[in-house]
């Protein structure tokens, strides 16, 4: 790599500008010195980040860049080697009720014996606990969440009978049932149909208009500008962070993806720098 020094300069500049941007408002999720390692190789190394409250942020980066791991480490699903995570200025354990999580659709076994409504009710766990009532008002809440993602007619369907897009909507409904302030989504648009993508984006925008914070691991660079306000670019270590207009540029993309992103592809993207 001949351009190492140049790349580092870009990284420094972008991260610097990101911090200025984030400090203007309260951070919904802030991370300091976060390192996560599977076996010997770090999956996420020394990440500092502040995700602005009330914004829709895309976490982007190449395969194996640690995007999902970053989310999971913030939620305590994978152990942190080092670093601190704060949600709305509080440690994770005190803020769990304010977070909703949508894991990758393919991470679960959809043959599990449950109906769509059963699955959405799992999102009510923190409000009902081990023994609280799930019928009546809580069930009505779960049904309302299904309504919001356009799946009201599927409440009694077996989850094994859903299409990929329907599975993703049901996962989103379960997150809505958590009634959170911060929504962490892992690849919510992976392998879904166009109608579902539309429906999910609409729901996320509604959440934002209600003052909620949305952070999504996103893989489709072509839709970053259209769907999100801010980006957090990572390749094991953070590469760039800030409003899409500033941080989502040809230089940062090259820094994050390197040779893995064809130059022609970069030209086709709705990049901030090329669209003044």
């Amino acid at each position: 790599m001949t351009g190492t020094a140049g790349t580092k300069d870009v990284v420094a500049a972008r991260i610097g500008s990101g911090h200025r941007g984030a400090s203007s408002g309260e951070a919904a999720l802030s991370v300091r010195g976060l390192t996560v390692s599977y076996a010997e190789k770090p999956a996420v190394f020394s990440v500092d980040a502040a995700f602005a409250a009330g914004a829709m942020t895309a976490i982007i980066g190449p395969n194996g860049a640690g995007k999902s791991t970053l989310l999971k480490a913030c939620l305590g699903i994978v152990p942190r080697l080092s670093g601190e995570v704060e949600l709305f200025g509080q440690p994770l354990e005190k803020a769990r009720h304010r977070i909703a999580y949508v894991p990758q659709r393919a991470s679960v076994d959809w043959d599990f014996p449950a109906t769509v409504l059963d699955l959405v009710k799992m999102g009510l766990f923190r409000s009902v606990g081990l023994f609280g009532r799930l019928r009546g008002e809580p069930e009505a809440r779960a049904r309302a969440c299904l309504e919001r993602v356009g799946m009201a007619g599927f409440a009694d369907r077996q989850i094994g009978q859903l299409s990929g897009g329907q599975q993703q909507r049901v996962f989103l409904a379960r997150a809505l049932a958590q009634g959170a302030d911060l929504y962490l989504l892992d690849e919510p648009f992976a392998g879904v149909d166009a109608a579902t993508e539309r429906a999910i984006v609409d729901v996320l925008r509604t959440l934002k208009s209600e003052g909620k914070t949305v952070i999504a691991v996103h893989h489709d660079l072509a839709t970053v500008t259209e769907y999100f306000d801010r980006v957090f670019m990572i390749n094991v270590s953070p590469v760039a962070e800030g409003p899409v207009a500033e941080a989502f540029t040809a230089e940062t993309l090259m820094a994050a993806y390197g040779g893995r992103l064809a130059a022609t592809h970069v030209d086709e993207l709705a990049l901030a720098g090329t669209r003044v």
């Binding site: 305590g76 109906t115 599975q167």
Partner: protein, 311 residues
């Protein structure tokens, strides 16, 4: 169905039912977590524990045997985790290696030790002694209300009832945790449910059920009951609550039908001797699973490829 039934059949049938239900309950979750082999592993590894307990205590008594079996079950669970983590070995293989090795060690120990004077051999470990758990003092149904006769009930009945009650209580108390964490471990942890300790606790509870049942009915029923009733139940319904109820029904049915067929089946067929009740109970549970595979209303779902895995 008079005095003779109460004397010779009531307690073995009850113990069979309690052992079957105690194993079938955790089996539901083990199967959904694709850990069904754990039951198999545990029931094998208790053998060396029991032999060591006998060598140390010098008697075939319930308490040392249970302690030895529990200790070896825990050793096995830890070993399996070690082989998995340190050796980077796939979970199924790690289990297979650990339980066959420990079982073989148990057989060798048993052969080398002087157990000729006591009722401890490989056959006993496999088949248990369900038929011998009779209630000789019983004079009829009235004995159920006679404190003197009740005091002579086989102690295995009380222990098995306790084990079964504990398993039912654990299933009810941790139902929502188990359901959420079994379906989606990551989501469960995000909710603050301690999914990893819960999974470990499930294995430990299964081990306790297996050890309690092993002592009374032998390992063959334990192995069958962890897998057959829950697997058959999954084919009957796609609702977790109903699946667990079906598994209890199938476990009970296997125990009752298996015991009766072992005792009287050969006679009905013109034979003269009865056959092993434990063997017949396990066989009946297998037949029920076979029938569920052929006729169960939800059979297309089990074993199907992960429908959400593509994408």
């Amino acid at each position: 169905m008079g005095a003779e039934f109460v004397q010779f059949s009531l307690t073995p049938i009850l113990i069979g039912i309690l052992a079957s239900v105690a194993c079938a309950l955790p089996g539901n979750f083990l199967i959904l977590r694709r850990q069904a082999l754990i039951g198999d592993a545990i029931s094998h590894v208790v053998l060396p524990g029991i032999v060591v307990a006998f060598l140390l205590s010098g008697v075939v008594a319930a308490m040392p045997m249970l302690l030895g079996a529990a200790a070896s079950a825990i050793v096995a669970v830890v070993l399996i985790e070690l082989v998995k983590r340190v050796g980077q070995v796939e979970p199924g293989a790690a289990m297979g290696v650990v339980f066959t090795t420990l079982f073989a060690a148990g057989v060798l120990l048993l052969e080398q030790s002087d157990t000729s004077s006591v009722h401890l051999d490989v056959e006993h470990a496999l088949m248990g002694n369900l038929e011998s758990l009779i209630w000789l003092r019983a004079g009829g149904w009235g004995s159920l209300f006679d404190p003197v006769a009740l005091a002579t009930l086989p102690p295995e009945l009380g222990r098995m009832a306790l084990a079964c009650a504990v398993m039912i209580a654990l299933t009810l108390v941790f139902w929502r945790w188990l359901k959420i964490a079994t379906f989606d471990e990551g989501f469960a942890e995000a909710l603050g449910i301690p999914a990893a300790p819960l999974g470990f606790g499930l294995v430990i509870a299964s081990a306790l059920a297996a050890v309690a049942a092993f002592e009374a009915v032998g390992s063959i029923i334990v192995i069958a009951m962890f897998i057959c009733p829950p697997a058959a139940a999954r084919l009957m319904t796609s609702n977790l609550e109903r699946q667990v109820l079906w598994s209890v029904v199938f476990a009970t049915l296997s125990a009752v039908a298996g015991y009766v067929m072992a005792g009287y089946g050969p006679l009905w067929l013109g034979g003269s001797d009865s056959v092993s009740a434990a063997g017949m109970i396990a066989a009946v549970s297998g037949v029920i699973l076979g029938l569920a595979c052929l006729f169960g209303p939800h059979r297309q779902r089990v074993g199907a490829a992960r429908s959400g895995g593509v994408g």
